[in-house]
């Protein structure tokens, strides 16, 4: 447990890393078990998204057909002017903002400020839901334009396949995150984390660390979007 691990203060830096990994017991000192587990999950998810993006790169490099220009494909007409990537830009700002509110929720969670922490979690969930809604809107436009996983009107047919796979998988992550955030909102507001009330799914006692662990997941979803935004929409 975290208590026994923190009895002696382990050395910092490179020496500390060597002693942590060779300590023949708890490697991640002072971090409990929940946080390293979430980091391990994130590491595995990094590989899933990484492989998807590598597959996208391979498909895009290997096709002799021209790749559709994302700036034109994802343009929206506002007041008679074609604005490139407008929807994607708004989605990016919404997801970054949700990351900001989540970071603040974790901060107020540490300060045991139940009300503000709960409201910030609810704000994060709302922004996440708006993001998913805009993604549904984006998919609808593209499907009506004739984009399919096997064909599209502008060029290389692999475009649709990679687009639906990558954004769909990311959107699924956001959706799961929103559900988890709403669940955590209820736990925080009801005082489960203060009272150590057992959760409905795992039966584990409520701890304030849960907010930080969920925050890690949410920031990771934002992190993945940073890479998708750069590689898929801007490159």
């Amino acid at each position: 447990m975290a208590e026994s691990a923190s009895q002696e203060t382990p050395p910092p830096g490179f020496t500390g890393m060597i002693s942590d990994w060779s300590s023949d017991q708890t490697t991640f000192k002072g971090a409990g078990w929940g946080k390293p587990m979430m980091w391990l999950f994130i590491l595995s998810d990094i590989f899933i998204f990484g492989v998807f993006l590598l597959g996208y790169m391979s498909a895009r490099l290997a096709t002799p057909d021209p790749w559709p220009d994302a700036a034109e494909v994802f343009a929206l007409t506002m007041f008679g002017v074609q604005v490139p990537l407008l929807l994607i830009a708004i989605m990016t700002f919404i997801l970054i903002s949700s990351s900001g509110t989540m970071a603040l929720a974790v901060k107020y969670g540490y300060e045991r400020n139940r009300k503000i922490c709960g409201r910030l979690i609810l704000a994060t969930a709302t922004l996440g839901a708006i993001f998913v809604g805009m993604q549904v809107f984006e998919w609808t436009i593209l499907i009506m334009d004739g984009v399919r996983p096997w064909a599209n009107p502008w060029g290389a047919s692999q475009f649709g396949a990679t687009f639906f796979l990558i954004t769909g998988f990311h959107g699924t992550h956001v959706t799961i995150g929103v559900i988890a955030l709403l669940y955590m909102y209820r736990k925080v507001m009801r005082g489960d984390l203060d009272d150590g009330r057992p959760g409905a799914i795992t039966g584990r006692k409520g701890r304030w660390e849960m907010v930080e662990i969920l925050g890690l997941y949410w920031h990771f979803v934002d992190l993945v979007w940073v890479f998708i935004f750069a590689f898929f929409y801007l490159w």
Partner: protein, 115 residues
């Protein structure tokens, strides 16, 4: 839980500062994308802004800068394999494209034009 209380000491201002920088970097990458500068420069700048944003999110929002080096290396070292794969698949993808251009596309075009 008491181990983590030192994290909470980051002032509120720093959160808004990071938040603001994420906005600025996103706007920068968007402007780079729509401005008429050489493609190569665009790609370099977009990648730079992307890495800067990812570093800010991981270091501050995900509290990586307060974690012990053993956890940081556990997360950051294995994805190096993806960088290796990037070069492998990059070379392979270009090679396949060349093969297709040489043996399939031109042949196809010459055949259809000949009809």
């Amino acid at each position: 839980m008491s181990d983590h209380d030192e994290h909470a000491t980051m002032p509120l201002k720093s959160y808004y500062w990071v938040w603001g920088w994420l906005f600025v970097l996103s706007v920068c990458s968007y402007i780079v994308d729509i401005s008429p500068i050489p493609q190569m420069l665009q790609w370099i700048l977009i990648t730079f802004f992307m890495i800067a944003k990812a570093a800010l999110i991981m270091a501050v929002f995900m509290h990586m800068q307060w974690e012990r080096l053993s956890l940081v290396t556990m997360v950051l070292v294995p994805p190096g394999a993806l960088l290796f794969a990037l070069f492998v698949f990059g070379f392979e993808g270009l090679h396949i494209e060349t093969v297709r251009e040489t043996f399939f596309v031109n042949e196809f075009f010459s055949r259809t034009e000949g009809r």
